[in-house]
Symmetry: C2
Subunit: 201 residues, 2 copies
Amino acid sequence: MNDVIHETVVTTVAPDGTPHVAPMGVRYRGADVILMPFKPSTTLANILAVGHAVLNVVVDTRVFAGAVTGRRDWPLKPAERVTGRRLACALNHVELALAELHDDPQRPVLRMARVFEARHAPYIGFNRAQAAVIEGAILVSRLRMLPAEKVDAEMAYLQIAIDKTAGPEEHEAWGWLTDAIARHRAAASQPTQHTTSGGTA
Amino acid sequence: MNDVIHETVVTTVAPDGTPHVAPMGVRYRGADVILMPFKPSTTLANILAVGHAVLNVVVDTRVFAGAVTGRRDWPLKPAERVTGRRLACALNHVELALAELHDDPQRPVLRMARVFEARHAPYIGFNRAQAAVIEGAILVSRLRMLPAEKVDAEMAYLQIAIDKTAGPEEHEAWGWLTDAIARHRAAASQPTQHTTSGGTA
């Protein structure tokens, strides 16, 4: 398999129509798209139930930073040909149908066939701050596993690109990430609170 | 001025038709593009002489890594409406005409008006390895100014994204960068060679 991974956003809907927005690293294989959602996950359950997904190519990194800081409520538009929605901010989107499933205890491999695609806005070039937000979002998703010193060193390195090249979206996304790190540290420094311990009320 | 910077490639031609390919961080201001080439530079001289430039939006990071490792000979195609060429690998290109010049001893500010643009291939999403190559190319361009330990630490960090997400283009570009660092170190560890010193011949 070609191991080149592109960071995109996969939107799916549950059988009751509830949408779900999930950043995902995907592989392109010819005209198909390979998704490897974790088991269990809402994305996997929705694709297995509905048979469709939408791949969104996005440069608004708030969607990536939002996914690891509790912000998944992004404007959506109906898909054209499949059961689903696409992100309103997508530069391009590709509507997909499940073609083949290789099950796996952790990450099933879903080969998705291209049903329809549309371009909405041009790509205008690399932005170092966008890349820094993506890397920062990955760090935030691993806060429980990483030593604080490593997180601080990498965030300090990434901050340089934010300071030099970010726009308002990247600054907002970066703020969510630094807030999440501060909250994680504050929670870790608190004495453990047991929900069953006696309160004062 | 909006300080968001996008990393693109600017192609220009000299009055005799010789093309020049230069990665450049640009600013978009409305429909215009702001270029700030260094003085002196071939890009600046060509734009002042010819009045035109082409902005190339590129995701083949070999063009960026090549520029800092002596590889600037990329396939070009003629521009449609201005005197110039565009990169054959550009996803999009924008043909530009010089509209306004604010001179500066180091970096004149050139406001370039959009004459024509075309899309050639879709953007398919963030790739962490591409971002790592861009950052690595910036490091290589600053080897004379940076301590070796800093370069090593940042390259080791960037290597993670290369290992996890790169395709053949990114691996090739990354190899050029690591070779350039090795050559720089080897040259720095040699006794200084004076071209006027007596040889053995």
